[in-house]
Each structure stands twice: as structure tokens, then as C-alpha cells.
Subunit: 384 residues, 2 copies
């Protein structure tokens, strides 16, 4: 039972599929009341469906993820973003589980978002894309399941914004998820969290090339702003200690400082690289929408509504935090646990020791992986 290094393998080559889930005749009706169509969704599946759907695990991705959670698209050195966790013999064991991973609504990697064509104008939506909520993200996840004929979900799992979707799902549809695995997430961004998010958006929206979001096809876009936003976010993904170990005050490509205003320290070079590389794979408007969705997320805000919903909740939870995560530190997870427990929803909570900060959820942290593996083992055994 559980994953060991000996049996871990990668899924190898996988493929993204696309499906139109909403059409003009049957549009997506958002929380706001606005409608959206068409909505296309990019998704991948790993493993085999068991008869009766007792082994379905839905992966919800974080801010900048995509459908390719595991395996690779042709280059084994560039595996999916959660390939550490998902695969044959891994904690989310595709030898036994059927795993479904899709790109989020509002994203830019195959699912309809601000860079998609607005059928009303024939032009990309830009900022005319409607604002949506975490509930809307869940709505689209569920529509994909309906499309595939999946009737039961053994577990939904996600880190950060992914975990927020898992939590919202269990609240909105209390009898749908058998298990929810919520990793380094939160039920409510703090003022500091919102502040970082606000500065990231200011960097993008104040960029003179942003053009009110209509930069598509103009030959220029808010690349500077988006790369600054990404650089800043990266600081919050790493712990201070991991930055110290990884870079310290070392100079890039030499021993002695250059003494100039350009890139000199290794940590500068790393951040510059992260900022630039991000431009190849992410759309600035998607970044605006998905960060804003997180700011507004506050599912426990109305105590009456929470009481009603959690009274009916059939989901068991595994809530995990990392001790050096300062983007969503353990107090965020504890708040989730306290609220669930107060309403008698079963929760297993672990604070995992890991030096890697928020990024830990993407990395091979043994205690973390053992905990997820053991939890899913038991969930699968109970479902049988």
C-alpha cells in the first residue's frame, strides 16, 4: 500500500482533449447571472475508470496550472505540474485511480477565458469576459464530469486555488464528493494576500502596453507588468530559508560582484528568468481574473448559510499545510479545519514540515506524499 520510490513511474506521453461543454443554446450561467457560451474545456485523464466510478479523482489546479498535471506532451524532461504526485505507484496512484484534470474556466491553456473569441464581436473578450467565482469554476468541473458520465467522485484534490475549489465544491454540493483533499489553501485571503494580488494586477493594468486589456494582435502587450507580477509572486511561493539555501547572496556566473544596477545576484537572475519564461505560457488577462477570483473567495462569510450546508455535508476532508508556507500559512488551514470541525464534518489535518514554502505542494516532500497516499488508500478501501 502507498507509494514507495521503487514503484513510482511517470505516465509517459499523455494527450490533452477538448470538449465544448456549453453552447449558445445551453450557456454557462454564472453566479453573477451573466451567461457565457461557448465554453470549451481542455482536460486530460489518467488511469482506468472502475465499474461504478468508485475510483474517480478530480484534480483542481492552482493559479497558473493547466490540464497537463501528469505525464508529458512529448518531452519527458518537462512533465506535468503535479507529476511528482500523480502516476503509477505515486500517491495519486493511476494504477488504481482514474484521474481527471482540466484547465480552469478563465484560463489560457485550452479552456475558454479572456483570450478566447467573444462570438458577439468576433474579437477576444479581454476585460469584457465576465467576472466569475470559485463556485463557477466548480460548476464547469461538474459539467465535465456529467459530460463524461461520471456519477460519483471518490476525491477532489487541489493545492492553493485548487484547494479552494475543493472546499467550495463540498459546500455547494454537499453530497457529491466522498473526499476533499485541500492542500495549502485558505477560506479567506488576508489583507496581505490581497495586497500582493493588488500589486500584481497594478503591475499589469498600469503597464502602458496593457491597452485596457485589448492587447491581443496588437504586437505588444503588458509583458513587463506580467513578468513583474510573476517575479513578485515567486518570492511568496518560496520560504525565506529556501531562498537562502538556494541562492544566498551568491553572484551569477562569477565570484566577485559586478557592482552595477543590472542582474548580479543569482536570486535576481532566477527571478528574471521566471518572469520571462512565464510570458510564453500565460495570458495577462487570465492572471487578472484568476487572482481576483481568489480575493473574493470567502465561503464561510455567512454563518447561517455555512451551517445549513455543512449540516448536509457528506465529504470527509484531508487538510494539509506546510510549516514554512507564508503565502497561505498554517493559520489559514486551521481556520478551515476549525469551521469544518465545528459543524461535525470529519477532517484529518496535518501541518507538514517542509523547507520549501508554498511551493511544497508541487514537490516531492516525503511526509506529504505518504499522507496523501495513505488517505487515498483508505478512501479507496472504504469505497469498495
Amino acid at each position: 500500500m502507498g507509494a514507495t520510490d521503487d514503484t513510482r513511474r511517470s505516465l509517459g506521453l499523455v494527450e490533452t482533449q477538448r470538449v465544448v461543454l456549453y453552447t449558445e443554446d445551453d450557456p454557462l450561467v454564472l453566479d453573477s447571472g451573466e451567461t457565457l457560451a461557448p465554453v470549451e474545456v481542455a482536460y486530460e485523464t489518467y488511469g482506468e475508470r472502475a465499474p461504478g466510478d468508485g475510483n474517480v479523482v478530480v484534480v483542481c489546479h492552482a493559479l497558473t496550472g493547466d490540464a497537463n498535471a501528469a505525464g508529458h506532451h512529448g518531452d519527458p524532461t518537462r512533465p506535468g505540474w503535479w507529476d511528482t504526485l500523480i502516476g503509477p505507484g505515486k500517491p495519486v496512484d493511476t494504477d488504481r485511480l482514474f484521474v481527471l484534470s482540466s484547465n480552469l474556466l478563465g484560463g489560457c491553456q485550452g479552456t475558454t477565458g479572456p483570450s478566447s473569441t467573444d462570438p458577439a464581436t468576433g474579437e477576444p473578450y479581454g476585460l469584457r469576459f465576465p467576472l466569475f467565482t470559485v463556485s463557477d469554476l466548480v460548476r464547469v468541473q461538474r459539467r465535465l464530469l456529467a459530460h463524461l458520465g461520471v456519477e460519483r467522485v471518490l476525491a477532489a484534490i487541489g493545492g492553493s486555488l485548487g484547494g479552494m475549489q475543493v472546499l467550495q465544491w463540498a459546500l455547494d454540493h454537499p453530497d457529491e464528493l466522498n473526499n476533499g483533499i485541500v492542500v495549502c489553501a485558505t477560506a479567506r485571503l488576508s489583507a496581505q494576500n490581497i495586497a500582493f494580488s493588488a500589486v500584481a494586477r497594478a503591475a499589469i493594468m498600469n503597464d502602458p502596453d496593457f491597452q485596457d486589456g485589448d492587447y491581443y494582435g496588437t504586437g505588444r502587450g503588458p509583458d513587463h507588468g506580467l513578468s513583474v507580477a510573476r517575479m513578485m509572486a515567486h518570492i511568496t511561493y518560496l520560504s525565506e530559508e529556501s531562498m537562502r539555501q538556494k541562492f544566498g547572496r551568491r553572484i551569477q556566473d562569477r565570484d566577485e560582484p559586478r557592482f552595477d544596477l543590472g542582474v548580479d545576484f543569482q536570486v535576481e537572475s532566477y527571478l528574471q528568468h521566471q518572469g520571462k519564461a512565464f510570458l510564453d505560457r500565460f495570458d495577462a488577462n487570465s492572471y487578472l481574473y484568476l487572482t481576483r477570483v481568489m480575493d473574493y473567495f470567502d465561503p464561510f462569510a455567512d454563518p447561517t448559510r455555512v451551517r445549513e450546508r455543512l449540516a448536509r455535508c457528506r465529504t470527509r476532508f484531508l487538510v494539509l499545510s506546510f510549516d514554512t508556507d507564508w503565502r497561505f500559512d498554517t493559520s489559514h488551514s486551521k481556520q478551515v479545519v476549525r469551521t469544518l470541525t465545528a459543524h461535525r464534518v470529519p477532517v484529518t489535518f496535518r501541518e507538514i514540515a517542509s523547507p520549501h514554502g508554498h511551493d511544497s505542494f508541487l514537490l516531492e516532500v516525503p511526509e506529504y506524499h505518504r499522507t496523501v497516499a495513505a488517505y487515498l488508500d483508505r478512501a479507496l478501501a472504504e469505497a469498495r
Copy 2:
């Protein structure tokens, strides 16, 4: 002895003076070997000089400070940046002390910096301004003292970059300062500190209106980048808890969220305001140079040199940190204290409890003010 609220008064109207300290015949020779002239310095003095200069306190300002540390320039509602600390009956008591405060080399508020005219071209220096060090900042502080005929310094005091100058001064000129008061400073920026600094510079230098630093007189400049840099820096000046108390998740000017991408939460509004207001008083190139000076500051890097210098050091230190400061947390101050103590330099160290993060050094935190007042009382008594 010491300050009490009953006796605290503001200095009232004060004036900035200017003096040319270096000329082409007698230029400033920087650490790098480069020369700079003319160098003009803006400064203010408060209180009366005692015979024999036994009561001189030099104030060293932080990244974005200026010469106007105390009193005001005509509007009592806009007092100097350290008016909480300096004035009649205050911890730096101008009834008894003679206080000198100047704008730093490389600054933009009266002292020669990148926005000053390069006599070689008749144009502003921009990025042709030479890179300088904290030692160079001290060099100019000392030249101002020489100009005023001050022969002894009872104490130099500074927070953050100001404290770094105090430390460097005591190392470079071990017999000059009787006392050094180093508040929430560091002897070495961490990788995370440098990272924030690097993102701030990227925001400025990647701004399409930066024009390689030659934006003066063009009608456009890196305003967007500079405001983003300032917004981000502000997050690091406040503690998470103080942001929670000050803003929480409250909405600006209404009860219900607007649900849009613009400014909605109070914390967003605050940061936007801070970013914009900064543009009126600060030059982007000065921001680049002064942050870079901090990155390279590493006065304890060479153990042999430190041993030699500290063996001769006559300065007594008061080192203060704040328990919620995460820009330069207490571990930075402790590192300073450990090194000084290891070389038998007398140090009094206090970690002050304050909810306000790095910004605490500018605020009226009672234990902090009592500690500075008591330290200066004793210093003054011993000097007599």
C-alpha cells in the same frame, strides 16, 4: 529624565539649508575610485550646539527619507518623517541635543543624485551617475560635519538603511562615534530581501517609459513602475497583523463588494494611494541606486578586516529590532549584535514588541521611545 507625553512638543517651522561640499577642484572620491563633483547636500539642524560639541546627534535616513526629519516646512499637519522621535522633550531631545539631518548622496530631495545635472554634459546624470556604497554615504555625512566644524559626535542614529550607515561609520572610523543607534537594520540583506529589491528595480527599469534612465524632461517617466515598486515595498513595511487590523477584508467606501477588477478592498485603495503619492516626491533613478546600495552592503564579509576594525572601535551601540518586522527581522539585528559582541564592542540590544512591522521605527511605540530616550540620557551624562 526621558520623554513623557506631557512635555513632547514639535519643533514647529524649520528650514532646509544647502551647501556645496565638493567641487571640481576637490571632488568626492568614491569607494569605486570614481570622482563626483559638484556635490551639494541639503540638511537641517535642530537644537543648540553645546560648547565642545558634546551634544551632537547625526540622523541618517532610510531609503526614501529626506533632510526634514523633524518640525515642518509650513504645514504642521505634515511633519518631518521622524518628528515622533525628535523634538523638545522627545527621545532625541532638542532641548538638550544638537541634531543634524541631511539628505543622502544619490537622493532626490536637495542632495546631488541621478536627477542632478552632470557638469560634463549639462544634462541630468541618469544612469551615468556613479554607483556608490554605504561607506560613500558616510563619507558625505562626515564632510558635512567637517564643514560645520563639528569635531565630536555623541551619537549617530538611523533606522533601516539609516542604521546601516551608522554601523558602517563605526567600522570605517572606529574612534569617531561615541554611540551608534541602529534600529531595524541589517549587516547583510538576505536572498529574500534582495529579491524584493530586484523586483522593484525590474518594475522601474522594464517600464517602457524608463528610457534607460533618461526620462527627465521628456514628459514621461517610469511612473507606473515606480508606483508598483512602492506598493510592493509598502507590503513589506507592515506586518501581516497590522494589515489585518488596519484593513482586513473591508471594502472601500461601501459595504458590499463591487465585484470587478478595479480597486475594491480598502487595502488596494491604500496601496494605490501610496504608490501615486510617492511619485510626487521621489525620483525613480534614486530608488534604483539606493536599493542597490543596500543589496551590496556586507560590512562583515571579510572577517580579518572586521577584526582589525572592531578591535579599535570606540563606539557603544544600541541595537533595536521589532518583533513583527519581517523586512529586517530580529535575526538580522541579532547577527549584528553577535558580531559586535564577539569583538568586545559594547552593545545594548532590545527586541521591541510592536504590531507595526518595519514601519515601527517611524511610529510612537512607547517601549522603543523609552529605550532610545534612556540610552541618550545616559550617553549625554557620560559625555559631560
